[in-house]
């Protein structure tokens, strides 16, 4: 009887290890793959995914052999004015389980399908002038920061935080031989 807690822990770990979504994690690749892995984990393990239907993605290559990916629910819409001024629009996106994840990647130009997708999720606020737009500063919204081993993108840790990738202390990741 007194071994029940340990047994429960082992069973829970076992169930977690068998989570079918984990089969979708890709081990090797660049930040694009890290983003996909982050979205997969985020969508299957965090409650924050239920709080928004669209999420901005951020990524950063750390010198220490780590790729950082940050996922945060949308804060404010992208603004497009009649006189042709626009917010900087994301150039990449992916959809997963009916949620949109988007990010700006300077390596890619803005394609029409991105705008179509942003419109589909009502992320673009088309206004006559800047005076009709609403600009939002949000310093406190919680998101999830993921830190991946570059050599093995299925080896990662995550932190739920209000802070950006660079502000968080990098978690201890054993990236050597995994």
């Amino acid at each position: 009887m007194k071994n029940y807690p340990q047994l429960l822990v082992i069973l829970l770990l076992g169930f977690q290890g068998c989570a079918p979504w984990k089969a979708g994690l890709i081990t090797h690749g660049t930040y694009d793959i890290a983003i996909k892995n982050a979205v997969l984990d985020f969508s299957n393990t965090t409650s924050l995914v239920r709080q928004d239907s669209t999420f901005s993605v951020d990524f950063k290559d750390f010198d220490s052999g780590i790729i950082g990916v940050s996922l945060l629910g949308t804060i404010g819409k992208f603004i497009v004015t009649a006189d042709g001024k626009t917010s900087r629009l994301p150039t990449r996106y992916l959809e997963y389980n009916g949620k949109l994840f988007y990010w700006y990647d300077a390596k890619y130009s803005l394609e029409k399908d991105v705008i179509t997708k942003l419109n589909e999720y009502s992320l673009i606020d088309s206004v006559e002038t800047i005076a009709q737009a609403v600009f939002v500063h949000d310093d406190a919204k919680k998101g999830v920061n993921y830190y991946f081993c570059k050599k093995n993108l299925s080896n990662y840790k995550k932190i739920i935080t209000t802070k950006a990738l660079e502000y968080c202390e990098l978690p201890k990741l054993n990236c050597s031989n995994k």
């Binding site: 993605v57 950082g68 700006y104 005076a131 009709q132 609403v134 939002v136």
Partner: protein, 199 residues
């Protein structure tokens, strides 16, 4: 607002409840209690409500407050009511170094210690503002609400998609400069400008 004199303006504390609501509070010596003091002349006018109405303040001209005086005031009122204040600096000139002639302070209703929502609707509804350019986006970081000093003195988010840095990266077609206003930890405290345009 105080009587007309050469002293700085001030906002007095008033009673919030009961049949004496709105009456000025006095201390034991019979002196009016001050909520916000040291306000440059030309900022306050009778009937202003910073919570529910957008305010436009002319700066830099004769008989007008300085831009620094408005910055000082906006940080003081933000800390007094416990919210971020936000708005824009306007000019008829264009470019990052344009001479600022008006400060647009957006109503603070709906803001809190870490969020602000800026709409510059008067630019649309007020004919006299049609040719004004939005030069600087500003918001305050209250320094008196227990937020770590490190976070008060820096823009939130250092990488692309989050917080103030993400805001800046997304909105450079609408504003030339991006500014956080807060107050120093010195005594007496002073306004502190954190320009994160090129942070």
């Amino acid at each position: 607002m105080g009587e007309k004199n050469d002293d700085p303006d001030r906002i007095l504390k008033t009673k919030q409840f009961g049949k004496h609501k709105g009456e000025v509070k006095y201390d034991k010596k019979g002196e009016a209690k001050v909520a916000i003091g040291g306000i440059e002349k030309g900022i306050l006018k009778d009937g202003q409500n910073f919570k529910t109405n957008d305010q436009l303040i002319n700066v830099g001209g004769e008989g007008q407050p300085t831009l620094g005086g408005v910055e000082d005031f906006v940080t003081k009122i933000g800390e007094y009511v416990g919210v971020e204040m936000s708005g824009a600096y306007l000019s008829k000139e264009k470019g990052a170094n344009a001479s600022i002639s008006k400060v647009y302070i957006d109503e603070y209703n709906g803001n809190d210690a870490t969020h602000s929502y800026t709409s510059l609707f008067k630019l649309y509804s007020d004919e006299s503002l049609k040719n004004m350019n939005t030069i600087t986006d500003f918001h305050t970081h209250p320094s008196n609400l227990g937020i770590p000093r490190l976070d008060v003195e820096r823009p939130s988010g250092t990488t692309d998609g989050r917080g103030d840095i993400g805001f800046r990266n997304n909105n450079q077609n609408f504003f030339m400069n991006f500014l956080i206003l807060t107050r120093t930890t010195t005594y007496p405290s002073e306004v502190q400008r954190i320009d994160y345009t090129k942070w």
